[in-house]
Symmetry: C2
Subunit: 348 residues, 2 copies
């Protein structure tokens, strides 16, 4: 089938023949133009253009042992959480002549591992990964091949791995303190599954830590784990509202869940924040589009992407792993967070 391929895709040998030079000269024109005389080079370039020649990437990678390609494995492309940071990552890479290959793991550790292997087999020179949690065989494999892997969207003090991120636990603890300061004592939490998602786990830990520090009883915290989707956020919110005592504030593991919670509140005719407060995490665009606008933890996505790219670039050049970088987050106070209702109606 489609055997017209046969002779119509030009190789470097075709170009060499057409230009009356050797394949080495053609190769040099492409990779080190200043090492060939101008007249020769022009002839070669003309032949390349005439034939529509494109170097075969696989062959090139096979011998050059460098692909100028970076791989990234993100949990999902379906929501905007990683989009902006990844965009900045890609832009910075492109400026330096590198290409980005993206794969998604659907928040599944086994799939992430597959995708990483796949990218490595494709010869990526470096890797961007989300969070710390993964089988350690991946790190071993990278080390063996001399591939630098950098972690983003997370930073845990004391961890030696190269990372450009923020302290999920501390950021969420800070937000929790604000919630408590307003007088809330019954706090509900909607989180992504904490089993295989260390960012989600750290965020919940941050909430627990802040509650503990404030002397709140552990049983005043209601946690619902669910998947990262708007509908899931809505369902989880309903579940929390059915509990006794009913939470006066619902803190969500990210903005997507929070938006689902707000929608559910609207459908339940609960006023936000008069009847119940809702908070998010990430500060993606949707946070200022929803009514009421969402109080959330702002994450410097673009800066994170850019700095992760720079760190990786540097690692590639120097051969030494970059030092971890902690980025600051801050809280964006918007309408969805307020004091608890005066009558605490602790029973639904």
């Amino acid at each position: 089938m489609t055997d017209q391929k046969d002779k119509s895709v030009p190789t470097i040998a075709d170009v060499a023949r057409a230009a009356g030079v050797s394949t080495a000269t053609v190769s040099r024109c492409l990779n080190a133009p200043d090492r060939v005389q101008k007249a020769t080079r022009q002839q070669v370039m003309a032949a390349i253009a005439r034939l529509g020649y494109t170097p075969n990437f696989g062959a090139r990678a096979l011998v050059a042992r460098r692909t100028n390609t970076i791989g990234a494995v993100i949990p999902t492309m379906e929501n905007a959480i990683f989009a902006r940071g990844l965009q900045a990552f890609q832009e910075t890479l492109n400026e330096r002549g590198l290409t980005l290959l993206v794969a998604s793991s659907q928040y599944r550790q086994d799939l992430e591992e597959d995708q990483v292997r796949n990218l490595i087999a494709r010869g990526v020179d470096g890797l961007l990964l989300i969070g710390y949690q993964r089988s350690e065989s991946i790190a071993l494999e990278c080390a063996r091949r001399g591939i630098h892997a950098i972690i983003a969207w997370a930073f845990e003090p004391g961890r030696p791995q190269p990372a450009v991120g923020f302290d999920n636990s501390a950021a969420m603890a800070a937000l929790t303190r604000e919630v408590l300061a307003l007088g809330h004592r019954q706090v509900g939490v909607i989180s992504a599954g904490t089993g295989s998602n260390d960012r989600a786990r750290k965020r919940v830990e941050g909430i627990r830590a802040a509650l503990r520090a404030a002397g709140c009883a552990a049983d005043s915290l209601h946690v619902v784990e669910t998947t990262y989707a708007i509908d899931a956020g809505s369902a989880a919110f309903r579940e929390l509202m059915a509990r006794t005592p009913r939470p006066t504030a619902v803190m969500c593991g990210n903005d997507v869940l929070a938006v689902g919670a707000i929608r559910a509140a609207r459908q339940m005719r609960l006023r936000v924040p008069q009847d119940v407060s809702i908070t998010g995490f990430d500060d993606i665009e949707i946070a200022t589009v929803i009514d009421p606008e969402l109080t959330t933890v702002h994450v410097p996505h673009r800066e994170m992407g850019r700095r992760a790219a720079l760190a990786l670039l540097e690692a590639l050049e120097t051969g030494t792993p970059p030092a971890p970088v902690e980025l600051a987050t801050d809280i964006r106070f918007r309408a969805s967070l307020g004091p608890p209702p005066p009558d605490p109606r602790t029973t639904a």
Copy 2:
């Protein structure tokens, strides 16, 4: 730097030696396991596992002339428009053992062309492209290499190119008729740049056609072109509201713009739909999260992605380009669309 690479990345020869067989047998274990005896295979597999061997993708592609990889170039990853369809596309591909490589073009034709060439050089077996509009050299190049390219997110009757999409113009015309039926006569439009985006252009054309069919004067249509972003939608909405006569309905080229428009309306203390109606296109998740919920054209994203994958798969197998497929869209009536205000206040 990192020259530990040297002997520590195992090749097929290392595996062969470790298992006491030839490289051909190792290769067969991987590519046609039933052509080697069970005992031999087990030894080979054990050696592979012990050494942590991964076939080098470039070398494999070089000789096999097939990569089992499909490339997709989408305009942007930043918003959710393409996310769901692409996800379905990928899932269907994965089920069949193919890998997806995604690149983004930022809605720029020159970048799209670069990305396509890049993907082709990487040896993709097939391509998913958005919309019809691009330099024809791309089609030529694909034909020469026997690469099947399939168009999605658009379907134009009479066009021969393989496509799985919907009729942007007809869909928008249908929505426009509903707007007109409610009594609106002053219609504003917020569109993405129509210069290099044929879907955006067709949508605006659909609106014009419906207005013309209803006997509306051409000057009752106010079009603002902007970029695909929530903020841009907000700004464009403000601009439209400043015009005289002021539109009673604002039709947006997609949901992202519409959401920006709704936010701007809220900030301007305009009630939607009592003071002004707003419609979208795409029916992404945000449409049911915004308040008021958005009346929009529902696009079967997942089905489109799945069917595009199936069409491509079939093309790969049979070698013949698949016939174009038109998918139906329908209108989701929600709160953002209502009759025009009784007092038309045609002046701001």
